[in-house]
Subunit: 189 residues, 2 copies
């Protein structure tokens, strides 16, 4: 893997120095998290890997927790397009399978775990990302079809929770077959 | 709060030096995790707080991940007695309310988040603790009563997953009322 510092120093592309610093720092975080046996993630370690001054990172992100939350938010931004298959069952099945795939990615999982590890609601919110809004969009569409879908709370407990729990707290695979059983339990035929 | 080093140095109680070191290090981890704005948890920081040599901690636990997994395992050991109310519904309701209370404790939650944050299956296993076996014991008892309970996988998805997800990934309270709805969804009347 090319070092991010080399990429940063080459930086004559458009986008501005600020955007290049952000990209280099985000890449450095992800690389350090997936390195076997890397030292604990600290601002100086990230800065060194990214080829920027630690003060630059402190000024922009303040703490490792803020930085990880930003990387996670960026990682989850637009990762899943809310499906529109014509039925709530179809939408939720597609969504659950997409999220299962997303959370099965070792880089994503390492990032989610590290972000949770810095504690606090900010990291938790970054890990939830837009999930509630995405579920609500599918439930709203079902209401617009004249049907009464399960509540957002019930859908969160039945779909989001098992996907995150299995990814983060177990070593079991998030197969599409299993993800679909979550929907058939929520919406019995 | 009394410093753990004072407690360790006082150590003339029975149990042996090894047990006292373990207790002091475990306490130091929990104190550091609940300190506002504490520095990142490292072996030297834990050792200093516990009043022991860092080499002692390295020799015994190897890494922060190993240490956190040990503290979490110890924290969850015997925390919940598997209820025996005479019915699966009663057992699971009591269990879900107990686990909700357990996971709502800020010290426990800080420990679970930090342990997940060190990554890997060892920390995840420590956070799961004996939950699968506890559920299985209640399901087995229902089978012994001649009934066919839900599968362990279904019970995990319906009960454990929402409790852990809500505690770790959201800022919503784990109320007993909500915990009981998980059981009424799993076991419709």
């Amino acid at each position: 893997m090319a070092t991010t510092s080399a990429r940063l120093q080459a930086g004559s592309r458009p986008g501005g120095r600020s955007a290049r610093v952000r990209a280099a720092v985000h890449r450095a975080v992800q690389e350090l998290l997936t390195d076997e046996g890397a030292e604990p993630l600290t601002i100086p370690v990230v800065a060194a890997r990214a080829g920027v001054h630690a003060t630059t990172v402190y000024r922009r992100w303040g703490s490792v927790g803020d930085l990880l939350a930003d990387v996670t938010t960026s990682r989850f931004s637009g990762d899943i397009v809310v499906p529109d298959t014509g039925s709530l069952r179809g939408d939720l099945e597609r969504y659950a399978c997409d999220l299962a795939k997303d959370l099965s990615d070792p880089d994503t999982l390492a990032l989610v775990r590290a972000t949770i590890g810095t504690g606090g609601e900010q990291g938790a919110a970054a890990c939830r990302g837009e999930r509630q809004q995405q579920l609500e969009a599918m439930l709203d569409r079902e209401r617009a079809r004249g049907n009464e879908p399960p509540s957002l709370e019930r859908t969160t407990d039945a779909v989001l929770a098992p996907l995150y729990y299995r990814a983060v707290f177990t070593d079991q695979p998030l197969t599409p077959e299993w993800a679909r059983t979550l929907i058939s339990t929520l919406l019995p035929a």
